[in-house]
C-alpha cells in the first residue's frame, strides 16, 4: 500500500493543467497499490479549488491558505508540502516538472535526505518502488531510473504535457485538512509577477506553436495567425526575419538566436526555413509547413507540407479547428 501525495500548483486561483496531470498519475499509482491519494495546495483564498481536486480522486486535500502565500515562495510552498507529508505519511510524492515543481520537489527531497526522479516521461510502480524513464542527450536516449531502495519517501517530477489529465471515475472524498504552518520564515519573497505579454502563451513552454515568417508580409497579418493560435491553444512564434523587420518582439523569435523549442505541433506559415530557424524548431514532433515556394527548405523538415497562399490556408485551418471543437 502506497499513499501518494501530489503537490498542486495554482496560479490566479486556477489549478494548472500540469498539476492535474500529476494528480491523475498519482491517482492511478495509488489505485495500483491500494493506497490513498492526497493533494497539497498552497496560496491565498484557494479553498474553492478543493472540489476540483476531489473530482480527480483526492481523498484528502491539505490546504495552506495564507495571505503571504498568495505569490509563490520557495520556502513557504515547501513548508506546506513538508507539513502535508508529515500529516499524510505518503510513500510517494509527486510534483509536476514545471519551474515551481522543480524548485519545491528537490527542496522537499533534500529535507528528507532522498533523491528526486526528475523530468519523468513514464512513471510506474513495481513492488512498491517507482520506476520510469527520463530523457538524456537532448531526448536522443532515455534512462530507466528508480529511487534508492532505502528511500523512505520516493519523490518524482513528471514532465508536463506527457501524462493525461482525467477526472477519476469515482470522485475522492476531498476531506479538507487545514495546515498549520506556524510562523513562516520566508527569506526570499516574490514581490510581483510580470507577465511578458498578458494572455499569450510563452513559445518556450508551449506545446503547440503557430509561427510566421517574412511570408506574412507585415505585422498587420498577425491576427490571421493569432486566430489559429486561439483555436489551437497555441503560442505565436516568429522567424528571425519577421522579428528583425520589427513586426513582433524578440520574445517570439524561434531559432538559433531566439528560443529553441520542441513542441508537439509546429505550424510554420510563410517561413522559408533558413538553417537558423530549423536549428530552433527542427526537433518538433509534427511540423506543418505552409509556403508559396515549393523549393523552400522548410519542406525538407516538414511532416506535412502545404504549397499555397497562407492567407487562404490559415483561415481555413482556423475554421476547421472551430468546427471540430463545436
Amino acid at each position: 500500500m502506497s499513499n501518494v501525495l501530489v503537490f498542486i500548483e495554482q496560479r490566479d486561483g486556477k489549478i494548472r493543467k500540469s498539476s492535474l496531470e500529476a494528480l491523475t498519475l498519482g491517482h492511478s499509482l495509488s489505485k495500483k497499490t491500494n493506497g490513498s491519494l492526497g493533494a497539497v495546495i498552497a496560496g491565498s483564498g484557494i479553498s474553492s479549488l478543493v472540489g476540483e481536486l476531489a473530482a480527480y480522486g483526492a481523498s484528502k486535500v491539505f490546504v495552506a491558505d495564507r495571505p503571504e502565500l498568495a505569490l509563490f515562495s520557495s520556502e513557504g510552498y515547501t513548508a506546506a508540502l513538508d507539513a502535508a507529508a508529515a500529516a499524510f505519511g505518503p510513500s510517494i510524492v509527486l510534483a509536476s516538472a514545471t519551474a515551481m515543481g522543480r524548485d519545491v520537489a528537490p527542496r522537499f527531497a533534500a529535507r528528507r535526505g532522498v533523491s528526486v526522479l526528475s523530468d519523468m516521461m513514464t512513471l510506474d510502480v513495481q513492488n512498491g518502488r517507482l520506476v520510469g524513464e527520463r530523457p538524456v542527450y537532448s531526448g536522443k536516449a532515455r534512462v530507466v531510473v528508480t529511487p534508492a531502495p532505502d528511500a523512505a519517501i520516493q519523490v518524482a517530477t513528471p514532465r508536463p504535457n506527457v501524462f493525461p489529465a482525467s477526472k477519476a471515475d469515482v470522485a475522492g472524498a476531498g476531506e479538507v485538512v487545514t495546515l498549520d504552518l506556524g510562523t513562516l520564515k520566508i527569506r526570499a519573497k516574490v514581490v510581483k509577477v510580470e507577465a511578458a505579454e498578458a494572455g499569450e502563451i510563452d513559445v518556450a513552454e508551449a506545446d503547440k506553436i503557430v509561427s510566421g515568417g517574412r511570408g506574412i508580409k507585415g505585422p498587420e497579418s498577425w491576427p490571421v495567425l493569432r486566430a489559429l493560435c486561439q483555436e489551437l491553444g497555441a503560442a505565436l512564434g516568429a522567424s528571425r526575419a519577421a522579428v528583425d523587420a520589427g513586426w513582433i518582439g524578440h520574445e517570439h523569435q524561434v531559432g538559433q538566436t531566439g528560443k529553441v523549442v520542441s513542441p508537439s505541433l509546429y505550424i510554420a506559415c510563410g517561413v522559408s526555413g533558413a538553417i537558423q530557424h530549423l536549428a530552433g524548431m527542427g526537433s518538433s514532433k509534427v511540423i506543418v509547413a505552409i509556403n508559396k515556394d515549393p523549393e523552400a527548405p522548410i519542406f525538407k523538415v516538414a511532416t506535412y507540407g502545404i504549397v499555397g497562399d497562407l492567407f487562404q490556408i490559415v483561415p481555413a485551418m482556423t475554421e476547421a479547428a472551430k468546427k471540430m471543437k463545436a
Binding site: S138, R214, A241, T257, A274, A279
Partner: protein
Amino acid sequence: MTITPVQAAYLGFPGTLLFALLLLAALVFFTYTASRRIQLLTLGGAPENRLDHPLARLWNMLEYGFLQRKMFRDPYAGLYHALIFSGFLVLLLRTLALVFEGLFPGAGLPFLPAGFWEGYLLVKDLVLLTTFAGVVLALARRHVVKRERLDPSFDADLILCLIGLLMVTDLGAGAARMALEAANAPANAAALNAVLAGNALWEPLTYSLSKNLSLLSSSSLQSIYFGCWWAHIVAIFVFGNYLPFAKHFHVITALPNLFFGKLEPAGKMATFDIEKAAEAGTFGVSKVEDFTWKQKLDMFTCTECGRCREVCPTHLTGKPLTPKGFMVDLRGALYTDADALIDVNAGRGDGSAEAALLARRPLIGGWIDEETIWACTTCRYCEHACPVGITYIDKITDLRRHLVLEKSEFPKEAQTAFNGMERQGNPWNLSAADRGAWAKDLPFPVLTMAEAGDARVEVLFWVGCAGSYEERGKRVSRALALLLHEAGVTFAILGTEETCTGDAARRLGNEYLFQTLAQQNVETMKGYGVTKIVTNCPHCFNTLANEYPDFGGKFEVMHGTQLVARLVREGRISLVNGAPRSLSFHDPCYLGRHNGVYDAPRELLNAIPGIALKELPRSRENGMCCGAGGGRMWLEEKIGARVNQARFAEIEANGTDAVGVSCPFCMVMLGNAKTELSGKTEAFDVLELAAQALPVHPG
C-alpha cells in the same frame, strides 16, 4: 667674437651651468617616466617571446617603420608624416650637436668625419623647411581638410605647434647667429666673403633669413639668437618629456612595436594551457595589467590616427566598438592606475595602493562595455590598417575568454551554439549522424576516409558545418565534389567523423571547447594519415592551416578556390559554359585579410566564360566584413545598423548582376540581407559558378 648663449651669464648665473641644470632636470625626469612606463609594461601578463626571427623583425621595422609602408595608403597623411618623420631623423643629430655645444661651448660634435657637417647643414636647412611644411599640412588635415577618422585633439595640436616652434626657433637662432657673426667679423673682406659664400652654399635658408636680419643691431641680433636658442632647448626638453604622457608616445615606441610585432600567421590566435590556467584559476584577461608586455606596448603606441575604424564594420554600423576607442580605453585603464599598479607590484606602500586597486574602475564593464567586447567580428581590418603594428583581436578575445571561461557571462545565444558544437559537432545542434548526407544526391559516390580504406586518397575534402548542413552550403559542397571528380582528383571526406573545427568557439572565447574539438579532429586526421586538405570554408581553412599545428596537426591546407583555380590552370578541368554577366566579388575576411588569399577566387572567376568582374570599392585588403566572423554568426545583432545590410547596400550600389562569395557564412549573411532589404543582387559561391561552367553539369 660671437659668444654662444651658454657662454653668457644670466643674472650672474653662468649659461653653461644653467644649461647643464636644465639638461639634468630633463634627463632625470625622462628617465623616471621611462622607468615607470617600463615597469608598467613588464608587470603581470603571460611571458611572450618576441625575439625570434630577428632579421624578419628588423625587416618589418625597416619596411613599416623607416619606409612608412602603410602610411602612404592615405597619400596626404603619408606625405606630411614622412616630412615630419624624416625631419626628426635628420634633426636628431642636430639636437645632439646642440647639447654638446651647450656643455662644451664652441665645440662641435667630435666624432663626425671631416666635411660631413657642411653637407649635413645643407640637409638640415632643407629639413627645417620640409618639417615645418609637414606641420602645416598636418594642422590643415586636422582643421581644414578633415577626415572622419580623426577626432579633435588638443594634444595633437599642442605637439604639432611644439614641432613647429622647434623648427622656427632652430632657424631663428641659426639665422641670428649667422647675421651676428657676419657683423662681428673682422674687416677682412676676403675672409668675410668666404664665410658668407660658405653660408650661402651650405645653409641657404638660414643665410637668406640672416640677410634679412642683418639690418638689426648687434644687441638685437644677440637677443634673437639667445632667445631662440634657449626656447629651442627648452622646447626639446619639454617635447621629449611630454611624449610619454600623450598619444605621441609613438614617436618613441612605434619602431620597437614594429620590431616586436606578430610574426605568426595573422589568423592564428594564441593557444594557452588550459590545465595550468585552471590551476591558477584565471582565464583570459580581466585586469589591464594581465595583458602581456607586448599588448601593453600596443596601448602605449596607439596614436589615435583612426585608420583602424575606416572600414571597421562595427564602427560603420554605429556600434559602441571602434578599435581606436577600444585601444584608448585600454590605455586609459593602464595609465589611470599606473602608480598603484607599480607600487603593489613592487610590494611598496602602506596598503593605500592595494585599496586604490580594489576601488578602481573595473576594466570590463567600467572601461570597456561588454557590448563592445561582443561586437567585434574579428574581420582584422583594423590590424591591416594600423601603421604601427597594433593588434586588436587578441585583446578582444582575451577579454571574451575571461567572460566565458571564468565568469560564464556571455550573450545567451552563444550557449545554443556552444551546446551544438559540444553535443553534435555543429553550432546548429543538428544531428551528427547527418553530417555526410549532403553527398548522397551526387551521381558518383563520395567515399569517407573509413570507406576508402587503403585506396589512395590525394586530398581530404573538409566539408565544414555549413557545407554539411546549410541548404546552400550543401549545394556548394556538391559543386566542389563535382569539380574534383571532373578533374580526376581522388578525394574523400570524414563524414560523421568530421566535427566543427571550433573556429567560432575559439573566437567567442570558449577555448576549452575549441581545444577539445581541435584535439579530436587532429587525432582523427592523423589516424588516416591525412597530409593535404581542401575546404571551402575560410574559417575552417584558417583554423586547420594556422591553429591546428599547435595541436600536432600539420597539414597542407588549400581553399577550394585555390585548388580549383590550379586544376583549371593545369588543364585538368575546362570551364566552357556561361552566360554573360557582371559580377562583384566579396572578399571573405578569413580568406583575405587573415590569410592573404585574394587572387585565387579572382583567377577562377576570370576563367569562367561570360563573367565580367567588377571590383567593389571596398575589396581585397579593404574588403568589408559581412558581419558573421568572430562567432557573430551565432549572436543577435541588436545595436546599430546590420553589418550584413550595410555591406549588401555597398554591393547593390556596385550595380552588378550578381555577387561572388567564397565563404558559406558570407553567403548566409548576404542572402539574408538581400531578403531583408528586398534587394536584387544574388550571391553565388565562386565554386557554384565554376561547376555550372563545366561541359556537363547536373544543374
